[in-house]
Each structure stands twice: as structure tokens, then as C-alpha cells.
Symmetry: D2
Subunit: 118 residues, 4 copies
């Protein structure tokens, strides 16, 4: 099977995966947003009791699990955007431009206190 | 500025964004996983009281907001993977192969009851 | 063992549970807030693909599981408040007074569109 | 107005609050579980970039905000249980008994590595 070497390729493969199973009928944006949040919650579970420093030093086993959770988050994010006809990279470009203005380098440098967003 | 036309291009731009602000020091995987979950929660807020059907019919204004939340989720997901040296597309390929086995077409077709994952 | 018949009784039992296991050392508010969000994510998982109407008609088995997830959320909420010396009922009273003003009956009646909070 | 001095009193006040606004129609368990998760996400936002130690040392202003988020979580948890006829304290008692067995003192003492739940 063709390698997944781009967001577009993954998007297409996910569409096929869902179409083959006739799951589009369940993938209302509301439902997919919930699934995304649930997966984000699963990702969290790996880090609850680690110090920030420990979270930088995962074992191979932990990393292998965490990778799969990250993939799940991406799957539902792509499905969400597919359903609502959102171009994810274009949205990212638009949001990044907003963040550039919101957090000017001169005022944001080295400070975590003033922002809660990337 | 160069268009963001791939996950790689976005990844690079985010790295620059963070480096310019010296924010890498805050981006422990634990913290970024929290930020990702918080953004997933913000995405949820747009859908709380909508019926599934209504969630398919967002207004232009709602869609414009929702797009930006989706971008935020992607930002932190990319940052998370960057920090832990996870190749997100490769992880997606690995997870998709697992899901293909976990949800064989013949048994999964049209059924939501047996699965909670994509 | 004494029945848990009030929030105070539960609070005390949880304190004992944690003290016996020497877990207070892990229960930084940051960590407990993460655990609370992770449990809220687990609660979500039960409802992803249900219609709103179906979510009102859980089977006994589903209900038994969901109850335990709800308890987990409460545990971490109580732990969180314990650690930060928050009186949860007093906070609830304060927030309810805010909500009464924010959502006056005359303007809020029967409308979901204007609010995203209780 | 009567003081809120118990979970039962809060439960009753919330029921009145919702009835006055005719909001019961929106409070499907699916929707309320989403609202709970969204509030848990808001709570998270206060802690993203704090060290665990800093999260123990919130300013009065931060604490005042965090208290209100905690109240929001409790509101939706109570609403959720009301809708599904779950007795929250009884569920807590049942879950605590499970946790007592799952995390025996002798084996759990001082160890965070083996558990991800309270």
C-alpha cells in the first residue's frame, strides 16, 4: 500500500477507511469533536504524575504508546476538518498570522505568564 | 512569507515561532499535552448544545472560529511530536495499520456500537 | 466502615485514602487538574457515537460504568479543592450567584444559543 | 436565599436554576458530559505553563478564578447525575471500595508509576 507521506495522503486514506466501514453516518462534527477531546484525554493520562522533566525522558515503551495516541488525535482532527470542509493547513496559516500579532517577539520573549496559547 | 503547504512546512514555521519567543523552555511534553487537551476543550464548547445535525450546518462565523480552534489543536500536536521526536505521519501509518486489523470491514460496517475509536 | 453520606464525609475518606498511600506528594494542583480532565475524557468516551436521545437511555451495564467515571471526576475535583484550600460548596454558591445575573430568566428562557455555560 | 451547605442543597438549587430557564431540554447526558469536559479544559488552562510547585502557590486572583472553574465542573457533574438518576455519593462509595482493592496500601505506598487513577 502507498506510503503516507503527507497530510493529504493521510486525509485520503482516512476517507477510504471510513467509507469502507460506512462510518460517515456517525461522524457528525459534534461527535468527532468529542472523540478528539477523548483522545486528548488519553494522551494526558500518560503524563499525570510525571514531572515536566520526566515527561522529556519517556522510555521506548511509553513513547511507542504515546505516538499512537498522538496519531488518534490527528485522525479525528483530520476527520473533523474533512466533514466541515476546513482546509487545515490554510486555517493554520491564518491562526499563525493572528498569533504573530498577539504575541509580538519583543513583548513575549521568555515569558509564559502572559499567554495561555501557542 | 512562504506559504504553508505541508505538515513539514508548518512544523518548521512553528519551530521558528517558538524559538523567536524563547518558549521552548516551557514546552515540556507534559505541558504541551495539557495545552492540546485545553484546546480540544475549546473546540468542544462550540458544539455543546447543538444537535448532531446542527453541527453539520455551522454558520460562516461559527466556522471561522472553529477553524482557528482546529489550528490550535494542530499546533500543539505538532509541538508535542517535535519535542518527543515523534514522526507524526509515520505514527499515523502505524496506527492506521492497527485500526485496519482492529476494525475489519466485514465486522465493522455500519456499526458504531462496537468501537469507540476511529 | 462509615457510610459516605455527605461531601464532607467523602472528602475525609479521600484524604485518608491518599494519606495511607503517601500519594499527597504527587497531588500538585497541576497534576490533579490533569487527572480530572483525563477522567472527564473517559466519561466522554461513553457518549461519542450516541445520539443525544440515546444518551438518555443507557443500559444498566452502561450506567454502572458511567457512574464510576462520574465518581472519578468527583474524587479529583475534591482532591483539587483540598489541595488549594477551596471550599467547593462556597465556590458553588458564589458561581451560582454570578450565573443568576449572567443568565437572567427573562432573557435566557428556552434559549441555548446565547450560553455555553450552566 | 438559603445557604448551600450540602451536595443535596446544591443539587436542588441547580434543578431550580435549570427549570426556571427551561434548559432541561438541552441537558441530554451527552451534552452535559461535553460541557463537563469543556469546563475541565478551562480548569487546565490555568496550569499549562506552571511548574507543579508553582501550581501550589496561586495568587489570590488566580485562586478566585480557579474556584469558579471548579464550581462549573461540579455543576455539570451534578446535572449529569441528576439526568441519569445517579446517586453521586453512592457511586463514590462504590468506586472507593474498588480503588481500595485495586491499590492496596502495601503495594501502592509512595508509588505513582503503577497507577493512573486516584
Amino acid at each position: 500500500m502507498k506510503r503516507i507521506d503527507s497530510l493529504q495522503a493521510l486525509h485520503q486514506r482516512l476517507n477510504e477507511f471510513v467509507a469502507e466501514r460506512d462510518w460517515e453516518q456517525f461522524h457528525y462534527p459534534k461527535n468527532v469533536a468529542m472523540a478528539l477531546a477523548a483522545e486528548a484525554g488519553e494522551l494526558l493520562e500518560h503524563f499525570l504524575w510525571l514531572t515536566p522533566e520526566q515527561s522529556d525522558q519517556l522510555s521506548k515503551e511509553q513513547l511507542a504508546e504515546v505516538e499512537l495516541e498522538a496519531a488518534d488525535v490527528l485522525f479525528f482532527l483530520i476527520r473533523f476538518c474533512d466533514r466541515l470542509d476546513i482546509d487545515l493547513l490554510q486555517a493554520a496559516e491564518r491562526k499563525l498570522a493572528i498569533n504573530e500579532k498577539k504575541y509580538p517577539v519583543a513583548k513575549s520573549r521568555g515569558k509564559a505568564t502572559k499567554y495561555t496559547k501557542l
